[in-house]
C-alpha cells in the first residue's frame, strides 16, 4: 500500500526534493554503489562481512583486490573487534551484518573496541527495524538505536532513501571516527526522495516540507510515510513540516527546537522502539529546553513478528495514516 507506484507532486520549493518518488531502490544497493567508488579511490578502505551478502562492493573487491574483502564467517562479535584491529593497522573497515546480531553479538565489541578506543570503523547495520517480512522476530531489531545512542563517541546515521544512503556512505568514509549506518531491510525497495543536489551533512536534518501547524520528525524508512502524511494533512488544511532526521546522533538540536518553537506540535516517526529511539531523543531534548506536545510513532515496547513487510508495517502502526492521525490528535490536545 505505501510502497505503491502512484506519482506524487509537491507544492513546495525544495530543490533537492524530487518532484516524483516513482523510482524505488534498495538502500543496500545504493550503499554498495557508493562503496564501490570509495574502494576504487581509496586503497585503505576494506569491506568486512559476517557471512552476509557482499553486494556490489564486496563483489568488486573479490575481483580486483581480494585482500580487502574479508568475510569472518558467522561471528559478529569477532567481526566488530577484528575491524577495530584493521583500523589500528591504518585501514578504514566497513562492517556488514544483520543489525540485531551486530548489536546482540557485538555490543561489547562496539562499545569497547570501536567506540571507547574511537576507532575509524564504519558499522553498517543491515535489516534494521520490523519492516522486514518473511523472517520473524529473532531477526527484527527494535532496540538498536536506544542501545547505541547511549554509547559515547558513536555517530549514528539513518538514511531514508538511496540518494541519502549514498551520501551517508561517503560522509562516513570521510569522517574520522566510528560511524554506525542504520539501513532498513536490504532487499526492500524505498522511493527515492532526493535528487543528487542534496546537501548532506552529518548532524544536519533536512526540511522536506514547510509548515507551521505541526512538525513530523522522521528517520529512515518512515521519512516517505511522513511525507505522505503531510500531503494528506495538507488536504485537510493542516500544514505539517517534515524533517528528515538522517542523523540520530548527534541530533540536530537546532532543527528540533526550531520545529518545537515554530509549530508547538511534534510527531516523531521511526521503525524502532519509541523508547530511546528518535522519539526518545526528541523527548529528552524538548522536555528540557522547550516542552511542547509530542507524539511518538514507533514500535511500542514489542518484539517483531512473522508476516510480510506490508503486514508488519500496518501491524506496528508505522504508516502514513498513523502519522497523520498522531498529528491531528496532537493538534487537538
Amino acid at each position: 500500500m505505501h510502497w505503491g507506484d502512484r506519482e506524487e507532486r509537491y507544492h513546495v520549493d525544495m530543490p533537492y526534493l524530487l518532484p516524483t518518488r516513482v523510482k524505488k531502490e534498495s538502500v543496500y544497493v545504493a550503499h554498495n554503489r557508493a562503496l564501490v567508488e570509495l574502494v576504487k579511490k581509496n586503497d585503505k578502505i576494506v569491506s568486512c562481512y559476517a557471512d552476509f551478502p557482499a553486494g556490489a562492493a564486496g563483489e568488486y573487491l573479490k575481483e580486483h583486490s581480494p585482500d580487502r574483502f574479508i568475510d569472518v564467517g558467522i561471528a559478529e562479535g569477532h567481526l566488530i573487534t577484528a575491524a577495530a584491529g584493521l583500523a589500528d593497522a591504518g585501514f578504514i573497515p566497513f562492517t556488514h551484518c544483520h543489525t540485531l546480531f551486530a548489536l546482540g553479538r557485538g555490543y561489547n565489541q562496539i562499545r569497547q573496541n570501536v567506540a571507547y578506543d574511537n576507532r575509524n570503523v564504519k558499522i553498517v547495520l543491515c535489516n534494521s527495524g520490523v519492516i522486514w517480512g518473511g523472517i520473524g522476530p529473532s531477526h527484527l531489531s527494535v532496540e538498536d538505536i536506544a542501545a547505541l545512542r547511549a554509547v559515547p563517541n558513536l555517530v549514528i546515521l539513518s538514511p531514508a532513501d538511496s540518494v541519502s544512503t549514498e551520501k551517508a556512505t561517503y560522509a562516513a568514509a570521510e569522517y574520522d571516527g566510528p560511524v554506525v549506518i542504520r539501513l532498513p531491510f536490504v532487499a526492500g525497495l524505498y522511493p527515492t526522495l532526493y535528487s543528487n543536489d542534496l546537501d548532506y551533512e552529518i548532524g544536519k536534518g533536512v526540511t522536506l516540507r514547510n509548515g507551521n501547524d505541526a512538525a513530523i520528525l522522521a528517520t529512515g524508512a518512515l521519512v516517505n510515510d511522513a511525507l505522505e502524511a503531510s500531503e494528506a494533512l495538507e488536504k485537510k488544511g493542516i500544514h505539517a513540516r517534515v524533517l528528515d532526521i538522517h542523523t540520530i546522533k548527534p541530533l540536530d538540536e537546532d532543527a528540533v527546537l526550531s520545529a518545537a518553537k515554530e509549530t508547538g506540535v511534534l510527531v516523531t516517526a521511526e521503525d524502532a522502539s519509541i523508547y530511546g529511539g528518535l522519539g526518545g531523543a526528541v523527548a529528552e531534548l524538548v522536555s528540557e529546553e522547550y516542552p511542547v506536545i509530542l507524539k511518538r510513532i514507533g514500535i511500542r515496547d514489542q518484539f517483531g513478528d512473522s508476516g510480510t513487510s506490508e503486514e508488519l508495517k500496518v501491524h506496528y502502526g508505522l504508516t502514513a495514516a498513523s502519522i497523520s492521525q498522531a498529528v491531528v490528535q496532537a493538534i487537538n490536545k
Binding site: 574479508i70 564467517g73 573487534t81 577484528a82 573497515p93 565489541q109
Partner: protein
C-alpha cells in the same frame, strides 16, 4: 651478545619489572600480582628481545603489536613500557589515579598500548584484525592463499589468560586466524592455572589448550613460560612458522617470583606494607 649473557640480562630485567610491578600495585593498594608475576618473563622477552618498536614514536605504523588480551595484570605491562622508555618511570606512581594515562585495565591512553581491554576474550580478534592489516597491500591478492607476494609489515603478539579461554569469541578469532593464514600472529596463553575465583580446571576445565589451538589449525607449542631459555627459543621458533598462526601455551606459576604467594590464587592481592617488604626481599633490593 652471547646466549648466556642474553638470558642473564633478561632475567635481571624480569626481576626489575616484578619490583616495579609492586610499586604500581602499591599505588592502588590492591592489584593483579599473580598474573603480573606469572607473565613477567614472557613480557620481558617480548619487550627486550623480540618486538620491534620505537618508544619515542609509539604509533609507528610498522611496529610489532602486543595485544594484552588479559587486560588485567596490566601492572607488569606498565613496568615494561616504562623500562622501554614509553613514559618516565615516575609515571608508574600515577597508576589508577583519576584521569591517569595508566588505567586499571590496559588502555590506549597509555603510550605503547594498542588495544584497550577489560572485557575478556576480545583481544585475539583485535590481533587477527591488525595482523590481517599487516598483509593487506597493493598487489596482494587472496589472503587465504598459500603463496603470498609480500612479507607482513609487522608481527602481532597476543597475551591471553587461560581462564580467558572460557570466552567463545577466542575461538571465533582462532578459526579466523588459521583461515587467513596469519603466520605473523602469535598467541601466548599465560597458563598459570588459576582464574579469578579459583582453579581453571575446577571453574571450567579447558582440558588441553594446545590440542584445542592445534585443532583450529594453529602451530602449537607448550613451554615453561617462566624459563627464559624456553621463552627465547620459542620466540625464535615463531618466526620460522609459515602459513599458520602460532599458539604458545606458556605453563607458568601464578605469583612466580613472590615465594609466599607462588602457585596460589593470588589473582587480586591487597598489598600490605608487610607483603611488599616480603616481595622486595625475595626479589633482592
Amino acid at each position: 651478545m652471547d646466549r648466556k649473557n642474553l638470558i642473564d640480562e633478561l632475567q635481571a630485567t624480569a626481576c626489575r619489572l616484578r619490583k616495579d610491578t609492586l610499586t604500581v600495585i602499591k599505588e592502588m593498594g590492591t592489584g593483579w600480582l599473580g598474573g603480573s608475576f606469572s607473565s613477567a618473563d614472557v613480557i620481558a622477552a617480548l619487550f627486550f628481545y623480540r618486538m620491534k618498536y620505537d618508544a619515542k614514536n609509539p604509533r609507528w605504523e610498522d611496529r610489532d603489536r602486543l595485544i594484552v588480551s588479559k587486560a588485567h595484570s596490566c601492572e607488569i605491562v606498565y613496568a615494561a613500557l616504562a623500562e622501554a622508555g614509553f613514559f618516565p618511570k615516575e609515571e608508574l606512581k600515577t597508576y589508577s589515579h583519576l584521569e591517569s594515562r595508566l588505567q586499571i585495565h590496559v588502555d590506549c591512553k597509555t603510550p605503547g598500548i594498542d588495544c584497550s581491554g577489560g572485557s575478556l576474550g576480545m583481544g585475539l580478534s583485535f590481533a587477527v584484525g591488525t595482523a590481517t592489516g599487516a598483509y593487506i597491500s597493493p598487489g596482494e591478492k587472496n589472503l587465504c592463499a598459500d603463496q603470498r607476494k609480500k612479507d607482513p609489515r609487522y608481527r602481532v603478539y597476543c597475551i591471553m589468560g587461560d581462564g580467558e579461554c572460557n570466552e567463545g569469541q577466542v575461538w571465533e578469532a582462532a578459526m579466523n586466524a588459521s583461515h587467513y593464514r596469519l603466520d605473523n600472529l602469535t598467541a601466548i596463553v599465560d597458563h598459570n592455572k588459576f582464574q579469578s575465583t579459583g582453579l581453571v580446571k575446577e571453574k571450567m576445565d579447558t582440558l588441553s589448550l594446545a590440542e584445542k589451538f592445534k585443532a583450529f589449525g594453529w602451530e602449537t607449542i607448550e613451554i615453561d613460560g617462566n624459563n627464559l631459555n624456553d621463552v627465547v627459543d620459542t620466540l625464535d621458533w615463531v618466526l620460522t612458522v609459515k602459513n599458520k598462526p602460532q599458539a604458545v601455551i606458556a605453563h607458568t606459576k601464578k605469583g612466580r617470583g613472590f615465594p609466599s604467594l607462588e602457585d596460589t590464587n593470588c589473582h587480586m592481592i591487597n598489598l600490605t606494607d608487610e607483603l611488599l617488604q616480603d616481595g622486595l626481599d625475595a626479589l633482592g633490593r
